[in-house]
Symmetry: C2
Subunit: 234 residues, 2 copies
DNA sequence: ATTGATTTGTTCGTATGTATC
DNA sequence: GGATACATACGAACAAATCAA
């Protein structure tokens, strides 16, 4: 239930139903006919998505995203939702789609067993016609037995959800600035050795199994990755 | 109370008391003499810090950080704790310490009023003798009335906590790859126009007021920024 | 393969504390 | 000071996934 309430509130914020302040917890309790604990749990989720500031005694305030000329990719939400960048869906150009054996390095990156078989998908992605990213993603075949050609062209995560009810539970992610190889530079229309914003991610099922891991190079102009944290007072 | 429990568990993980699996909730309840709800709230905090995977019916598993040759900066914890990179304290070389008036651009970056007065601190920071970052940080003077020379040389956040009981509550952060100017290149010993990993952050008090914002350029070799997310199923 | 015990997930009710207005 | 609003804490019950006999 709190998932639904959270999703509802998130949508309300994204569609500018709430632009400044949320209703009080009491009002939300009345609105959704659930207990205050459930409302607070839902608000925890919305908060974790980086959409709220909460002020004791005062209320919940919507975080106004920067105003700057930048595209924002919100890291505080799950990775499979990340593909939904504001500004429309990503178009893909598939460069590779095959099955390989994970060597030591790849196995380490994906937290999978060495020599295990994994799907490999390499794609260039475009946002509004502009080159957005180069993405290598991997799917362990012992968890993901089959991927269709079509899903690879469009949305693999949607396919996994619809076909196998397979949805990500948690993700571990690493951002760094990485020097690119000659081949990558060629694809990304940059110079060899250029530093590019790079995101490594591992996606887990609720069972704790890895069903996907990936490395993405972002080249979209003025892209910023956003995240939100709560400090704990010790 | 749950803060204390959370902090205790975090310390236990960081000191390798728990390396694989945490005790069950039931055991933690007995250990800390608090209710299960309180334990779960504490575990939420530890989880949000990116230290745990939780599996229903099974237990809580410690996330083993990549073993890789990289330095990891954990973004999933509050920014003021971020300065505690594994590998010891950061040394600072202060380049500027003065008060300026926020122009439109700076005010936007820091979510403060245009023309408000802010402390400016520009520092080079070193980790284990190696250049780590170039950091420009700002403190609105209407919230932070006074900063000592000494605090600027060492830890401003510690000073604010000790002198004013001022601690961060939430942070909004933006990561991007930024081209650096000639002056910055000079300081960072890079080339002008090089792309550098850059982190913009705004820190809020519990009252919702901005008490600090900053821009940090990271140049430490093989540094990766880590974060952890939980996906919600809709 | 089924069952039963264990373990985490969700939801409710209630009470009290603390900051803001 | 009083009312409002968010924060913390306890107890209880049932659901759902895992695990072991």
């Amino acid at each position: 239930m709190y998932h639904k309430v959270a999703e509802d509130i998130i949508q309300a914020i994204l569609t500018n139903k709430y632009t400044d302040k949320l209703p009080t917890e009491k009002e939300l309790v009345a609105q959704y006919h659930v207990s205050r604990n459930t409302i607070r749990k839902a608000l925890d989720v919305v908060f974790a998505h980086g959409l709220l500031r909460r002020v004791r005694g005062s209320g919940y305030y919507v975080i106004k995203k920067p105003l700057q000329s930048q595209k924002i990719l919100n890291l505080s939400i799950g990775f499979d939702e990340n593909s939904m960048v504001s500004g429309g869906p990503l178009r893909s150009k598939v460069l590779k789609f095959d099955t390989i054996t994970a060597d030591k390095d790849l196995a380490l990156r994906g937290n999978v067993a060495v020599n295990s078989r994994v799907y490999r998908v390499v794609r260039l992605r475009y946002l509004q016609g502009q080159l957005y990213s180069l993405e290598e993603s991997y799917f362990p075949r012992n968890v993901v037995p089959f991927l269709t050609e079509e899903s690879v062209q469009t949305s693999i995560f949607s396919f996994l959800r619809d076909a196998y009810q397979m949805t990500g539970s948690t993700s571990e992610n690493y951002v760094h600035a990485s020097k690119i190889s000659e081949q990558q530079a060629d694809l990304l229309k940059r110079q060899q050795g250029d530093q590019i914003l790079c995101l490594d991610g591992i996606n887990y099922l609720a069972s704790g199994k890895v069903f996907n891991f990936s490395r993405t190079y972002f080249v979209y102009d003025n892209l910023a990755l956003y995240y939100h944290t709560q400090n704990i007072d010790i």
